[in-house]
């Protein structure tokens, strides 16, 4: 009952917002063209879902995001942990990491399209580039912030660097890694979206750009809703992963 009440209270602002939107826009015809309204968006959503246009775009963008997310995080995490192994390498690579991290992904989009074409691979690459730096920095910071006394204790047991890495560094960095995964959901979506924005024939980003150029605001909002669903799915999956990986925190509570 208490949970139901919370759901109602959470939904209330959205319902009020939708009602205001619906009834404020309706009486003035011109505004409907610019702003659309919930009932029209719902109609467009239904039509474009039944004719499979939006579900197909959803799958394409989802696949690009997923592959880019996995690739970017995998490379970033491996390199981040790798830098823990060599302080010298970490020092040498620091300016390059900062340089890569400070270039906006939008600036890299044109060259990515030239190198990897207009297909799905270019979008995957953009999503990879978007997520890589955060994953790397978070993994490295997590590794560097591992408890020095825990490391010292393992050294007194005679542990070598690999044993310290697997028994202390990885488990204690997981909180950092998981928070980077959460952050990177948005960045991977952004990378895929930018790729589709620059050049594509499918995908939610492409659909939104096309709808925008045709002033089809209802379709634009429908695609945006699919985008939100995609983001929710990713976040939900990360939350489940977090519970599985950081199970000891749950047990502690």
């Amino acid at each position: 009952m208490k949970q139901f009440k919370t759901y109602c209270l959470t939904s209330l602002p959205l319902i009020v917002f939708l009602l205001i939107w619906e009834f404020l826009v309706s009486p003035i015809g011109k505004n409907t063209f610019l702003f659309s309204k919930p009932s029209l968006i719902l109609k467009s959503l239904k039509e474009n879902t039944i004719n499979l246009i939006l579900p197909y775009d959803f799958l394409i963008t989802g696949l690009e995001t997923l592959l880019g997310f996995l690739l970017g995080n995998l490379i970033g995490i491996l390199l981040g942990f790798g830098l823990w192994y060599s302080t010298k390498l970490a020092e040498i690579s620091r300016p390059y990491i900062i340089a890569i991290g400070s270039v906006p992904v939008f600036a890299l989009a044109p060259i990515t399209i030239i190198w990897f074409g207009t297909g799905i691979f270019a979008k995957v690459m953009l999503a990879t580039i978007s997520t890589f730096t955060i994953a790397l920095i978070q993994a490295y910071t997590g590794a560097k912030n591992a408890d020095k006394n825990q490391i010292k204790l393992l050294k007194t047991f005679g542990a070598n660097k690999n044993q310290i890495f697997f028994k202390i560094i990885i488990p204690s960095s997981l909180t950092w890694v998981l928070s980077s995964l959460k952050l990177n959901v948005s960045f991977a979506l952004l990378g895929a979206f930018i790729g589709e924005f620059i050049s594509a024939e499918n995908g939610l980003g492409f659909r939104m750009i096309k709808a925008s150029s045709l002033y089809n605001t209802s379709l634009l909002f429908s695609a945006l809703l699919y985008f939100l669903i995609l983001s929710f799915i990713f976040n939900y999956a990360i939350n489940i992963l977090e519970k599985k990986v950081l199970f000891w925190k749950e047990k502690s509570n």
């Binding site: 006394n149 204790l153 007194t156 047991f157 028994k167 488990p171 997981l174 000891w248 047990k251 502690s252």
Partner: protein
């Protein structure tokens, strides 16, 4: 046997190098329970880092059992902070040192169960450290240390953050363990009572770089000596007075 010979140790401060030990020398024969007392910053914990090899940046020589084994095979180390790994259950925390050293897992678990029963925390073996009280955590850390069966135990203020009853219980466990296994123990402490109750000998380190300012044997003739009976001994007050009068303030 531990031989600490002419140790000189500097450490870096904002004002340059500062001398911590100047020709520090002492020996601890096999089976002796030695307590080292001293004010904060006199280098008690640093000395342990040197003995365990965690810090090798010093002049002089430290010889442990003729240095025939790697240090970790002869020495185990227990700190004030229990340093239990929160992602491992109690039993895995206990056997971690042994598994790193390649000891048999079955044997380690058997030994763990013995000590878990002895300290009455058998029911906690599958719990995670954050579910444990401070005293329970320290008991687990103690088992993790003694399960390695090394000839030398280094205890760095292991009882300072726990309640009095648990402290006495742990002191008694360590004392009995050391006695039964002829283990050499060095205990670093701030607590004069504790040091007299469990030790065969007490060293007081002065403020840096003075080195040893008192080195006395504690001889309490009691049958079944333990930290409680030791405190009740008629000589206890005499030792307390000697240590107290020499303790740097």
């Amino acid at each position: 046997m531990i031989k600490v010979k002419n140790i000189c140790k500097h450490f870096e401060t904002t004002n340059g190098k500062e001398l911590l030990f100047n020709n520090l020398s002492f020996e601890v024969p096999n089976g002796q329970f030695l307590s080292i007392l001293g004010p904060n910053g006199c280098g008690k914990s640093t000395l342990f880092n040197l003995i365990t090899g965690v810090d090798s940046n010093y002049a002089g020589k430290i010889i442990i059992n003729s240095n025939s084994n790697p240090i970790h095979k002869s020495v185990s180390y227990m700190l004030q902070n229990d340093l239990l790994l929160p992602w491992l259950p109690v039993i895995d925390n206990i056997i971690i040192g042994g598994t790193i050293q390649g000891m048999s897992k079955a044997e380690l678990i058997e030994k763990s169960n013995y000590y878990l029963n002895l300290l009455k925390i058998e029911h906690l073996k599958n719990k995670y450290p954050t579910n444990l009280s401070g005293g329970e955590r320290q008991k687990v850390a103690l088992i993790r240390t003694i399960i390695l069966g090394t000839e030398i135990l280094l205890l760095d203020e292991p009882f300072s953050a726990i309640d009095y009853n648990t402290r006495l219980e742990l002191q008694a466990t360590i004392y009995k363990y050391a006695e039964e296994n002829n283990t050499t123990v060095i205990l670093v402490s701030h607590d004069i009572d504790e040091a007299i109750a469990v030790s065969d000998r007490i060293i007081i380190l002065g403020a840096k770089p003075n080195g040893i300012i008192l080195d006395i044997s504690i001889e309490l003739e009691i049958k079944n000596r333990n930290p409680v009976t030791a405190r009740q001994h008629s000589e206890f007050a005499k030792y307390f007075k000697t240590v107290w009068e020499n303790y740097p303030r």
